[in-house]
């Protein structure tokens, strides 16, 4: 073979070429950059422009963070330290304000020897949320979840342990009334009794019972007034209470709006439209200012409780509309199928309709929750000292007057952590519940 070729062609390669890397411009980072960043003259200009913008932003922020000062007693001390160590024209963050006042930003005026209580309450709260948020957690924990509101209330506000127990007993009383009445009367009467009896119990019996038990067996921790609550703890309590209370209320409102019963339907529609049509700040002013005129002077209607109620109602109206969207997205056949199975209204809702409708509504619901959580900072306008309010109060001390960004960076970080976790959980839930396209 080689003989024949030797006459016709000058050179024949007899071994394989070793494998080579692709040319530099066609591989790796360079290829990626050529394709994505520098693929034409317009893109080149835009890329360079963007890099310049990013650089000029970072060149201000990075030294500011890098030079930050964490140990100082006041802003002027911060500036002295900076002048001594870095030079007077360098930009430098004075995070000393955070190390000086972080307790206040987190807990407000809560007694410092009792800081363990909100921290423990947070841990207990997260444990209580476990069985609701994740399937893998043992179901028996749900009993603890049901008890946790009373435990958390007692931990945060303190006082006699018998107060929350006496209030919790009201639910047992209601259940007892339901069972007792249903023995000799209809279900409707039993339901009415189950609602009325506990209310009467709470109004007239719970207080004396708690007082009596406390005088016999005094167990309790120091009572801390709502006025002392502040900082991120306040935002968290208002936000979480609002979130937890508004979901069931919102679902009921959504069902009410779809109901065929005239009064329930109209009341739900009116409630949703009125609450939703007025800005939250107006409701907060109503809670803090207007209610005062109607209540007798000296009435201890806690401002924080009023705010929680208003925030809950406000968010419930939004949740109702989000859930209604989910209900509307469900094919009519699902409702008819539930009816065909002979399920009553509540069963068909609980077993067929709501699981599907709520799944569709998850992103909207979580969106509303995140919005609600951030809206809690509006309470600053009615004089509650949430983190934003406290940043103003901290700035009003002569030590820290003139400090802005450090406080806002810290507060922003706290809120971001919470809201981002909520968003991530919503994505997790959506993935877990995905039924199509498997």
């Amino acid at each position: 073979m080689s003989g024949t070729h030797a006459h016709t062609v000058a050179y024949v390669r007899e071994t394989m070429l070793p494998e080579q890397d692709p040319p530099l411009t066609e591989a790796g980072a360079i290829k990626w950059m050529r394709e994505n960043l520098f693929s034409g003259w317009l893109n080149n200009i835009l890329t360079i422009l963007s890099i310049f913008v990013i650089y000029s932003v970072l060149s201000h922020i990075v030294p500011w963070f890098y030079n930050s000062i964490w140990n100082a007693g006041s802003l002027s001390e911060c500036r002295e330290i900076r002048d001594a160590t870095i030079g007077s024209d360098a930009s430098s963050a004075c995070f000393a304000v955070i190390s000086d006042r972080w307790q206040q930003l987190l807990f407000g005026f809560y007694a410092s020897e009792a800081y363990w209580r909100p921290v423990l309450a947070l841990v207990l709260f997260l444990v209580a949320m476990g069985p609701i948020l994740f399937e893998s957690v043992p179901r028996k924990l749900l009993w603890y979840t049901a008890a946790s509101p009373f435990i958390l209330f007692w931990l945060l506000w303190g006082g006699s342990i018998w107060g929350p127990i006496a209030v919790a007993a009201g639910f047992a009383v209601g259940w007892g009334a339901f069972v007792g009445v249903s023995l000799f009367a209809g279900t409707l009467l039993a339901v009415i009794a189950a609602i009325l009896v506990p209310i009467l119990y709470w109004m007239f019996l719970a207080g004396p019972i708690a007082g009596g038990l406390h005088s016999i067996i005094p167990i309790g921790i120091t009572f801390i007034e709502s006025d002392d609550f502040g900082g991120f703890m306040l935002s968290f309590i208002i936000g979480i209470s609002g979130i937890i209370l508004s979901l069931p209320l919102g679902i009921l409102l959504a069902l009410g709006r779809q109901s065929d019963m005239f009064i329930i339907n109209k009341v739900s529609v009116a409630f949703i439209e009125v609450i939703r049509g007025v800005p939250l700040i107006v409701w907060l002013f109503t809670a803090s200012l207007l209610l005062n005129y109607f209540l007798p002077p000296g009435t201890n209607f806690d401002l924080m409780l009023r705010v929680i109620i208003m925030v809950t109602l406000f968010s419930a109206a939004y949740i109702a509309e989000v859930v209604r969207g989910g209900l509307a997205a469900l094919p009519k056949g699902q409702y008819e199928a539930a009816d065909a199975l002979g399920l009553d209204y509540w069963k068909s809702m609980r077993l067929i309709v709501l699981p599907q409708a709520l799944k569709i509504s998850i992103p909207g619901i979580v969106n509303t929750f995140i919005g609600l959580f951030k809206d809690t900072t509006l309470v600053v306008f009615i004089g509650l000292l949430d983190p934003i309010g406290l940043s103003g109060a901290i700035r009003a001390s002569t030590d820290w007057n003139g400090i802005y960004w450090e406080l806002f960076v810290f507060i922003g970080l706290l809120f971001f952590v919470c809201c981002f976790s909520m968003g991530q959980y919503s994505i997790f839930l959506e993935r877990k519940l995905r039924r199509e396209h498997r």
């Binding site: 802003l75 803090s288 005062n292 002077p297 600053v380 004089g383 109060a393 009003a396 001390s397």
Partner: protein, 337 residues
């Protein structure tokens, strides 16, 4: 608590008009004074790192609490904003308001409050960068002015410029904090607000020497504590607690020598003030040593001033109008007789 709240809701109509006639009895029954302050104003009211409120207005609250209970810490401070302060007082949520509030006709008459005195004579001033080379507010023709919206300062400013026939361009801002940033960033040539606020703001700048407060004061801003109309006994207690602080400075009674003087002096007015002579405390419905306690709470007026906003603090305000009448100021307490 749940119970009171429920009953409260039920008895809405019944009690709404009875805006508690005897505040003193309520305060005594409660065991502490509810005092409305700002949510934070340098030198006048701000919580320290331990959450204890401090400041010049706070000092007035503490003096009243000390006069009633003998204990300056028997105060519950309620932070109020510009919007919530008057409702909080009118509704009985607070017993008195000490929140650098300007005494005006309409607030006194129309809003049905009673100003019980003046604890700080303020006035609106201007601050400009030294580099601008302005020495009088009348040279500010055509300047951009940072001004808080919705306050009396806004109206005063318009009046002043119109009266002097010069023009200005307003830069509306919401809060003092925002104003500082805008002014430092050069968004406006001039910042105008109460002179005490200007001094406090200037003290926080990196180079306070680069900024000057112009000599013109263009408005009267008498700031004082106030109570509800209709309860004169309570109003008297607040009024005379403040007067006791002012009179104490005039008579040379300080927190340092008060215990010595309380044993009795040759000056009958000091004796009446401190309760060793006469029965002034009884007339107010308080103990004989009410003024003694009020003065001991934070010192006399001059001591309070020096400690919170005086020349040795970063704010560095001179006494000016707030000096005793003998020293050319406006402080003049009626006699304790």
């Amino acid at each position: 608590m749940k119970k009171t709240l429920f009953l409260g809701a039920l008895t809405v109509a019944g009690f709404a008009s009875a805006a508690s006639a005897a505040t003193l009895d309520d305060v005594k029954a409660r065991g502490n004074l509810n005092c409305g302050v700002t949510t934070g104003l340098t030198g006048f009211a701000a919580p320290d790192a331990n959450g204890v409120w401090e400041g010049f207005d706070v000092g007035v609250c503490r003096a009243v609490a000390a006069a009633v209970f003998g204990d300056p810490t028997a105060v519950e401070f309620t932070p109020t904003t510009g919007q919530t302060r008057f409702t909080a007082l009118a509704s009985g949520e607070i017993d008195m308001l000490a929140r650098n509030t300007t005494w005006t006709f309409s607030r006194d008459v129309d809003l049905k409050f009673e100003f019980t005195g003046i604890n700080y004579y303020d006035g609106q001033g201007f601050m400009v960068p030294r580099g601008l080379g302005v020495s009088s507010a009348k040279d500010l023709d055509g300047a951009t002015v940072c001004i808080q919206t919705g306050t009396t300062t806004e109206l005063n400013l318009a009046d002043f410029f119109r009266a002097n026939n010069i023009s200005y361009e307003p830069v509306p801002i919401e809060t003092n904090a925002e104003a500082q940033q805008q002014y430092l960033a050069g968004a406006c040539d001039v910042y105008t607000t109460d002179a005490s606020g200007l001094a406090a703001t200037r003290a926080t700048f990196e180079n306070p020497g680069d900024h000057v407060v112009l000599p013109e004061i263009i408005s009267k801003e008498p700031l004082g504590p106030l109570v509800r109309h209709g309860d004169h006994e309570w109003g008297d207690i607040v009024r005379w607690s403040l007067n006791a602080l002012i009179a104490a400075e005039e008579l040379g009674v300080t927190s340092a020598n008060i215990d010595e003087l309380a044993k009795g002096t040759n000056n009958p007015e000091i004796n009446r003030l401190l309760g060793t002579e006469g029965n002034l405390g009884e007339m107010l419905g308080l103990s004989a040593d009410w003024a003694l306690n009020a003065i001991k709470a934070g010192g006399n007026y001059g001591e309070l001033f020096e400690k919170n906003i005086g020349e040795n603090t970063p704010i560095g305000l001179a006494r000016g109008l707030n000096a005793q009448w003998k020293d050319g100021g406006l402080l003049y307490s009626p006699p304790f007789r």
